[in-house]
Amino acid sequence: MKVLHGISLEVLPGEVVCIIGPNGAGKTTLLRTISGLNRPSAGAVRFRGVDVTGSKPYQMARLGLGHCPEGRRVFQLSVEENLVTGFIPGRGKSFAALRDEVYDLFPILGERRGQSAGRLSGGQQQMLAIGRALMGSPELLLLDEPSLGLAPIIIHQIFEIVLKLAESGVSIILVEQNIDLSFQVADYVYALEHGALQCSGPAAKMAADPRIKDIYLPDLDAPS
């Protein structure tokens, strides 16, 4: 079934791009198409200037694309084993170096390295899912609704990490329902509706756009 219609999207190195839109707009499908889990019926995916349309997901991962799927989907293994699974050899950094970086970013994961991922809280599982994606030392990281079902304080922590990663040079495509925070971290925002691009622009400009405001940010001006 055709879900996406003529969407054109671009991410520059170290940039955070946010995709917003209501449920069923095709945000997840778009990410899955970029990472090769879905095959586009038309159009192209280019990564670092190379046409990678139709590549298998594992090939994309080895090229430096990390996909942190919706709903976290951590493996029911220990925390560290999850990181082992995410590790992709031959991308420059050793397993131990990457693992220590992940534990530096998320100290709680280091403390629970031997525990089963199933026993972690939702926020910790999300951290693990991001950590697992980072084990492939990605240049582009796809984050599908990392705030889903998490407490506000955890969401803030995770968005701080997103900013930190972008500062370190990782490009990020973020799919989010949490519009407020997304606009704060994003450089550029694309708004989807019914699988088509509704509007796009730099985050600051988009936040001021009356159309976006009406649809997504109705409460922004309302006194709280």
């Binding site: 990472s35 090769g36 889990l37 298998k56 997901p57 594992y58 991962a61 080895r62 990390g66 996909h67 799927p69 989907r73 951590v74 493996f75 029911q76 293994l77 220990s78 560290e80 084993e81 082992v84 699974t85 995410g86 992709i88 397993f95 390295r113 031997g114 525990q115 089963s116 697992r132 994606a133 084990m135 492939g136």
Partner: protein, 327 residues
């Protein structure tokens, strides 16, 4: 990689255990009369079959209900290549490799089309494959002698050592089990092991982690089939008679039960499961009429009490390794 979940085996104690247990089995074997010795042989054979099937079912999480097909391919390899059927008499060691190789090849050829399927669908197709092989053996009269089977198979000779008595086979099977156990253990602890676990847990997420799931599943299917094939060769050499009757769906089911009862994805589970599944029906022979009833009840009780198997994955190897003094 060392972590709490997978402490390293202390090499000295590990090696001691690795030598002591088989040695103990062999010593016991020397004191057993023929009938219990045959039962012990069968336990070891099913333990190896369980280890093989475990790669696919336990580690990769793919339910294979046609494992007996690979066992049959191995058995017929020895029956056809070392008997009067075509007056071919190849040496046992060679056929062991041929049988395992053919079975592995069949596993990969079956895997290429069916590994797109998941869950129940995969189970049904593999079940069908198991039956197809049996029906083929039953009907290819010119090749396999049909339902009459192939009798008067050669006595197996391994580098001048003639495998004649159940005790000889006990030595062979202990060796095979040790090799298979170490092999499966290595897989579990290797990158392939983590890849298999990822495939079992979530195929899409695994692909996103840079794992070529198709290749990983094919490797699992192929290696598992090879172990099944090797077991088949030994089975044929032990019985010196094969017929399609030995390779019914029931056999596939028993091997699945071995690992489900013992504990999926855990080499110790296969050992315990094989012991129970082969030993219990033999012990129940005294109550001939109620034998299958009691056997069934025992299995249901085990699954009710320990739904994840007697040695669940989490407390299997790691628990034993801590006992053995791992870090």
């Amino acid at each position: 990689m060392t972590s709490e979940a997978h402490p390293r085996l202390n090499p000295v104690r590990g090696a001691a255990a690795l030598l002591a247990v088989p040695a103990l089995v062999l010593v016991i074997g020397h004191f057993l009369p023929t009938y219990p010795l045959r039962v012990l042989d069968m336990i070891l054979l099913y333990a190896v079959l369980g280890l093989g099937l475990n790669i696919v079912v336990g580690y990769a999480g793919l339910l294979d209900l046609g494992f007996v097909a690979f066992y049959a391919i191995g058995a017929y390899s020895w029956a056809l290549l070392a008997s009067g059927q075509f007056d071919i008499h190849l040496p046992f060691a060679l056929v062991l490799f041929i049988g395992a190789g053919l079975a592995g090849l069949a596993g990969i050829l079956l895997g290429i089309p069916v590994l797109r399927l998941r869950g129940d669908y995969l189970a049904i197709v593999t079940l069908g494959f198991g039956e197809i092989i049996r029906v083929l053996m039953n009907n290819l009269d010119g090749l396999t002698n049909g339902p009459q089977g192939i009798a008067r198979i050669d006595e197996a000779t391994l580098f001048g050592w003639t495998l004649a008595t159940p005790l000889d086979f006990l030595y062979l099977l202990v060796g095979l089990l040790a090799v298979a156990f170490l092999f499966v253990w290595r897989i579990q602890e290797s990158a392939l092991g983590t890849a298999l676990a990822a495939v079992r847990e979530d195929q899409d997420a695994a692909r996103g982690c840079g794992i070529d799931t198709t290749r990983v599943k094919l490797v699992a299917f192929g290696t598992s089939a090879m172990i099944g094939g090797a077991c088949g060769v030994i089975f044929a050499a032990m019985q010196r008679f094969v017929s399609p009757e030995s390779f019914t769906f029931w056999e596939s089911l028993v091997i699945v039960l071995v690992i489900v009862v013992g504990g999926l994805g855990n080499p110790f589970g296969a050992l315990l499961g094989a012991t129970l599944l082969i030993l219990v029906p033999e012990l129940l022979r005294a109550w001939a009429d109620y034998r299958l009833l009691l056997y069934g009840m025992a299995l249901v009780l085990v699954i009710l009490a320990r739904p994840r198997g007697l040695i669940a994955r989490d407390y299997g190897p790691s628990w034993l390794m801590r006992r053995l003094g791992g870090g």
